[in-house]
């Protein structure tokens, strides 16, 4: 698999924020905010896979939804192909919608149960009025084959397929308009291991053949390690470390990255982790700890961590890190 080239990034996210209001009182005034995504910056190059990894509630999915315009960002900028997405109107927005697609986690709820597979895959073509009707149908058949489905199943409904096959349908839909970027929101976490492997292989084949870039959102380090070029680790709405895959896995720098990788079970019973029954809990985005939000769980935490928030900064080895101690 080719790693991405060093050309200009296709997508640049700068200080993205998504806050949800907390309302209270007689007049339902806004009294605070859940800072689900709180200043996230990264870039994505053509044809590469960048993974957003982190535990539930860290804001990785919210980031993905905001990128697609499914949630309204509270702040920050998204640049696509040199243009700022928030300025997009009319045709520009339409073309952005065409070039950035999404694959969802849940293969059940992501396909309309009342539509036939043909209609589901053709929807992007219909909406953007690509080609004639016949051309669209031909494209549907082609896509189905591409993702490993039999085109003669086009008239079936989603519930007639297994989870893995549904995920293939979702992928075909995302591919229909030949996008530059596909946001994959936990695309395999609902699947059994054997099926998960099929889908991961398919995704990696597609990237190789079509040069599409993936923003891969996942909590599963194994999957991330398998598929990514670069990995961004998120914790409570912020990226704490972002680096090449090998750097992250071989040499995790942020204490949280370390904890995350160290928590993944091994596959070697002769070399077990001695997991501690410790009880430190993940704080929630509603009441984030002050300073470095990881300090409540961090073995290295000092007063500085409690008081000031470390910024994400580029280090000599090419990784970006947000930690006072590393």
């Amino acid at each position: 698999m080719q790693t991405a080239d060093g050309s200009a990034p296709l997508l640049t996210v700068n200080g993205l924020k998504v806050h949800f209001a907390i309302r209270k009182g007689v007049l339902n005034r806004v009294v605070g905010a859940v800072r689900a995504v709180d200043g996230v910056s990264f870039s994505l190059r053509r044809g590469e896979t960048l993974s957003l990894v982190g535990e539930s509630g860290c804001g990785k999915s919210t980031t993905g939804l905001a990128l697609l315009g499914l949630l309204k960002p509270t702040g920050g900028q998204v640049e696509f192909d040199g243009q700022t997405v928030r300025d997009f109107r009319g045709a520009a927005l339409k073309s952005y919608r065409k070039r950035v697609q999404i694959i969802f986690q849940d293969p059940f709820s992501s396909l309309n149960p009342r539509h036939r597979v043909r209609d589901i895959i053709r929807a992007p073509l219909d909406i953007h009025q690509v080609g004639t009707r016949a051309e669209r149908d031909a494209r549907v058949a082609e896509l189905m084959e591409r993702v490993g489905l039999r085109p003669d199943q086009a008239n079936n409904f989603a519930h007639q397929f297994s989870g893995g096959q549904r995920q293939r349908i979702g992928i075909a839909r995302a591919l229909a308009l030949n996008p530059d970027i596909i946001v994959c929101d936990e695309p395999v976490s609902a699947l059994d291991v054997s099926v998960q492997a099929q889908i991961l292989n398919l995704l990696s084949d597609l990237q190789r053949d079509l040069g599409v870039a993936f923003l891969f959102i996942s909590h599963d380090l194994g999957v991330v390690e398998y598929l990514s070029h670069r990995v961004a680790v998120m914790y409570l709405g912020k990226i704490v470390e972002i680096a090449d895959k090998t750097a992250i896995f071989a040499n995790p720098s942020h204490p949280y990255t370390e904890l995350l990788i160290g928590s993944a079970p091994s596959l070697d019973p002769r070399n077990r982790h001695q997991f501690k029954a410790s009880n430190d809990d993940i704080p929630s985005a509603t009441n984030k700890p002050s300073g470095c939000s990881f300090h409540t769980r961090c073995p290295l935490a000092t007063d500085a961590c409690r008081e000031s928030e470390p910024q994400l900064s580029l280090r000599d080895d090419g990784r970006s890190l947000a930690c006072h101690h590393r």
Partner: protein, 326 residues
């Protein structure tokens, strides 16, 4: 919590204004005029005109509406055209009777509904279940007034067990009388309310029993029921403490809605059983085009309905710790 209650009560204001305006508009275009009803067939056109002017019916609609709201702001619902009494006095006199009827039949409906619903859920698929649910189906399929007449025919006329019509002492007074050694007063009051309350309750009992059944069946499939069994709890305890308590939650919100339906159903029931409540008053007010009275009744219904729903929501929050009102 207090803020929530205040906010809900404030929301009542636009609702009430809206309802007054809608009712006003309806009454404005309904043909027929209280002046001529008041004066009877023999009235001369001049007399009708004089009365119209005296009643302010000739003023433009916006002045009449404004006057109404201005008076309402001072807590004055106006004077009934026909009963030469303040609307508030008339309604206050009738309200207690209607609420008594609605509450008694709601209690009746809830008890019946719960017992039948739980029984048929526990013995799902058995003859008891089928019979209960068929009964429930019949209950919702019967026109209330027909049921009322049949009940009256049977219990009051043919069997002579219960009085056909009218109301005894108000139940609370009757209760007090019974406590002070005059049980016959209470018996009389109960005997009067039995038929109308039952006729009114059948529909709601049927609806509640079906809901309880569905909700019970759903709860009985929940994981925590399995947990309760896994703890070694006996079946009756699981059903009462774990299943029923949770199954009551959806029932609670329906009871609020049913209360509204009961108030509506009271119109027919009260007419049949000569129950001196708001329902009867509504019919006569409409048939006399007693505008201020109709407005007052509508307003009263709105307030009761809103209050009942507020109480239900508060109860809901009290019973279900997951609900936070804010």
């Amino acid at each position: 919590m207090i803020a929530y209650i205040i906010r809900r009560l404030l929301l009542l204001i636009p609702l009430a204004i809206g309802m007054v305006v809608v009712t006003f508009a309806l009454l404005l275009i309904i043909p027929g005029d209280p002046a001529s009803v008041l004066l009877g067939q023999e009235a001369t056109p001049e007399a009708i005109a004089t009365l119209r002017a005296n009643l302010g019916l000739d003023d433009p609609w916006y002045i009449r509406l404004w006057d109404y709201f201005a008076a309402l702001a001072h807590g004055d619902m106006g004077q009934s055209i026909f009963q030469s009494q303040p609307v508030s006095t008339i309604i206050a006199g009738r309200l207690a009777a209607t609420i008594e009827l609605a509450v008694v039949s709601l209690v009746l409906a809830t008890i019946l509904g719960l017992v039948l619903g739980v029984i048929s859920a526990i013995w799902q698929g058995s003859i008891i279940d089928t019979a209960t649910m068929l009964l429930a189906q019949l209950g919702v399929s019967m026109p209330v007034y027909w049921l009322g007449l049949l009940l009256m025919l049977l219990f009051a006329v043919n069997l002579g067990w219960l009085p056909a019509i009218g109301r005894g002492e108000p139940l609370l007074d009757a209760l007090a009388a019974a406590l002070s050694g005059r049980p016959e007063v209470l018996i009389k009051s109960l005997s009067h309310i039995a038929l109308p309350a039952f006729a009114l309750a059948v529909n709601s009992a049927a609806i509640i029993s079906r809901l309880v059944r569905t909700s019970m069946l759903e709860i009985l499939r929940e994981d925590f029921i399995r947990t309760a069994y896994a703890k070694g709890l006996r079946r009756p305890r699981v059903i009462v403490r774990h299943a029923l308590r949770n199954a009551l939650l959806p029932v609670l919100s329906v009871i609020g809605l049913r209360f509204g339906a009961l108030l509506g159903g009271a119109v027919l029931t009260e007419t049949i059983f000569a129950w001196p409540g708001l329902g009867q008053l509504t019919i006569s007010a409409i048939s006399q085009r007693d505008l201020p009275l109709i407005q007052g009744i509508v307003l009263t219904f709105a307030i009761i309905f809103a209050l009942v729903n507020l109480i239900v929501d508060l109860l809901y929050a009290a019973v279900d710790p997951r609900i936070r009102l804010g």
